[in-house]
């Protein structure tokens, strides 16, 4: 069974325009990215480890937990989503299985990186790399494991922090020779480095613009337009939505905590999405449709009586 989203993603990458792909990590973020008109999403492994396991991104999230999350989230949206397969969860043999699991989960491609396991977030200190030849073999195993030839293998290298930009370029070329569809130099420092990397590798390049709307100490913040001019094929924003959700929650908790002792509850619709926002986002409309189509008249009568036959109590 082929996945039509793979062709969608291939078409986006072939369009000549940079594919802007915010990082998602749960149902809310994935559905928001789709609803607000982005053509593609990228699942962040760090976001998954942080939100699903409440653990740092240091290789605690396992293959099956990651695949399970991707299966649910990709099923809840209609735009293509790439996944983050970390190191492939083992050696080249493991990678064979990992690729097929992710392909079955409905994602359109995966990143595989060249860190030593246990890996860590690319923007942390203390990264170590596996031998470049071993990493190239892992990419080759990944490419040969695809069932749909359109499935995208995005080879990530963490080499900049360890071997410098030249080491990263050397590795990226080896991964392209091994069949990678795209290469991704994580924690690349500057515009100048991006330009050198893109010009040197001769394959589509994916760049992680991190927080997207907030600068960080590692990668220089560049606009999408500038990335496009530099020849970047895809920009992901792995940390934007986790950091935005935390900011939203932190502010709400602060207001809530600081007013708990006040006689009146504060009404702050500026700080929260409304119940209609949430139900519209999360697919309650589909439930109304399914009930109307498939429940027996007496079941509907029991549930709603003579009232409006829709789940959501609107204000």
């Amino acid at each position: 069974m082929s996945n039509p989203k793979i062709q969608q993603m291939r078409a986006l990458l072939a369009s000549g325009r940079i594919v802007v792909s915010p990082g998602v990590y749960d149902g809310y973020s994935a559905r928001l990215v789709e609803k607000l008109g982005f053509p593609a999403a990228s699942m962040t492994g760090a976001g998954l480890a942080n939100s699903r396991l409440s653990a740092p991104d240091i290789g605690i999230l396992s293959l099956t937990e990651n695949v399970e999350a991707c299966r649910w989230i990709s099923r809840s949206i209609s735009i293509p989503m790439m996944a983050d397969a970390d190191t492939g969860y083992g050696n080249a043999v493991t990678v064979h299985h990992s690729v097929q699991f992710f392909e079955d989960a409905g994602v359109v491609g995966i990143n595989i990186e060249d860190q030593v396991s246990p890996k860590r977030c690319g923007h942390m200190r203390g990264k170590e790399l596996i031998d470049a030849r071993e990493a190239a073999k892992k990419i080759e195993a990944a490419v040969k494991a695809k069932r749909d030839p359109g499935f995208i293998i995005n080879a990530r290298t963490d080499a900049i922090a360890v071997e410098g930009i030249d080491g990263a370029i050397r590795r990226a070329r080896m991964y392209v020779a091994a069949g990678a569809d795209m290469v991704y130099p994580d924690a690349i420092a500057s515009e100048e480095q991006i330009k050198r990397f893109v010009d040197a590798v001769g394959a589509p390049v994916s760049i992680n613009m991190g927080f997207g709307i907030r600068s960080r100490p590692t990668t220089q913040l560049l606009s999408v337009r500038r990335l496009q001019e530099l020849g970047v094929a895809r920009a992901s924003y792995a940390r934007m939505l986790t950091a935005a959700a935390i900011m939203g929650m932190r502010r709400a908790l602060e207001v809530f905590r600081d007013t708990a002792d006040k006689p009146d509850a504060p009404d702050r619709p500026d700080m929260l999405a409304s119940i209609e926002d949430i139900t519209d986002l999360m697919g309650y409309g589909l439930i109304d449709q399914l009930e109307a189509e498939f429940l027996l008249p007496e079941e509907v009568e029991r549930k709603y009586g003579s009232g409006e036959r829709s789940f959501v109590v609107r204000s």
Partner: protein, 311 residues
């Protein structure tokens, strides 16, 4: 278990127990670091965040357990979980309660809706009979291994049968062994004070969004609820709605940047990387590396820079 005992003390304390709803690692850790004494895991939040689907009974026992186990493991404060209808009849409830207790929770909520259930503030609810509801609570109370593990019984009968039936049911559930009684989607202050006077055990009220009005339960402060005699208040929608709002604001800023072609730097909309790392426990990781990695391993990882993962 210590957390169940702690939760029992918090419920019994004269001050109202305030439990923000949590649904993922970020919200659980924020609730703890903001100084709240306990958290209530929202089933709707788990279904929506972890599965990407509405809270209409798509999520099963195992998906729920997988999430709550991880959250309980990372929090020092006690967490209550939302076991929906208990995922079957009274027999299933036995295994469901054991599952949540084993997963490290301090208590569990079980409701009397007909499966497939739906969010308590939606239309179209149906409930099982009061007798069956009471037997499910009895099964839950007798299934627990730690006698301190909290069984919270929820009734959704207000919308279907009215307040008198809610009071009758909560009394039956109390008799069957519930520790904490909860009527969802109450509509007026009068409902709340009538409940307080007519139920024999601690009462929990759902204040939804907490800092935003909704069309069902009127918005009251924790102080006002305490003055009415309420023992526990939960805010299941506060943090999901805040996260969605935060993400929408960030996406809007990114879209401005896409349109203008200019970089947008908005530290007011995103927490910094350092705060994110602190929140999810990177300091603990650094300490573990220092303690357990060999000198050679540390040298391989950090070469000449300080041996701490956070850049």
């Amino acid at each position: 278990m210590v957390k169940a005992q702690r939760l029992r003390e918090l419920i019994a304390a004269p001050e109202i127990l305030v439990m923000p709803g949590v649904f993922d690692g970020f919200s659980a850790r924020l609730t703890e670091t903001s100084g709240f004494a306990a958290g209530f895991i929202s089933g709707a939040g788990i279904s929506e965040a972890s599965l990407g689907w509405a809270d209409v009974g798509v999520m099963g026992l195992e998906e729920n357990l997988r999430v709550v186990r991880a959250l309980a493991a990372c929090c020092k404060v006690p967490l209550m979980a939302d076991a929906d209808t208990g995922y079957g009849n009274a027999v299933n409830v036995h295994f469901t309660v054991r599952g949540f207790e084993n997963a490290g929770l301090a208590g569990v909520m079980i409701e009397d809706q007909l499966w497939p259930k739906r969010c308590g503030h939606m239309k179209g609810k149906e409930v099982i009979t009061a007798e069956e509801g009471a037997q499910k609570i009895r099964a839950a109370a007798e299934a627990r291994i730690d006698p301190d593990f909290i069984i919270m019984s929820r009734t959704d009968a207000l919308a279907t049968h009215g307040l008198d039936e809610v009071i009758r049911r909560l009394n039956m559930y109390s008799e069957a062994g519930a520790d904490l009684l909860f009527a969802d989607a109450v509509l007026t202050v009068d409902h709340i004070s009538t409940l307080v006077r007519n139920v024999p055990k601690p009462l929990c009220i759902n204040m939804g969004f907490g800092i935003q009005q909704r069309s069902t339960t009127p918005l009251l402060s924790a102080r006002q609820l305490q003055d009415l005699g309420v023992d526990v208040v939960i805010y299941p929608r506060l943090l999901t709605a805040a996260a969605v709002r935060g993400m929408k604001n960030a996406i809007a800023a990114l879209q401005d940047s896409l349109r203008s072609g200019q970089v947008v730097n908005r530290p007011d909309l995103l927490v910094p990387f350092e705060e994110l790392n602190d929140l999810v426990g990177m300091a603990e990781l650094d300490a573990l590396e220092q303690r357990y990695l060999t000198a050679e391993q540390l040298r391989q990882k950090y070469r000449n820079s300080p041996a701490a993962a956070t850049a």
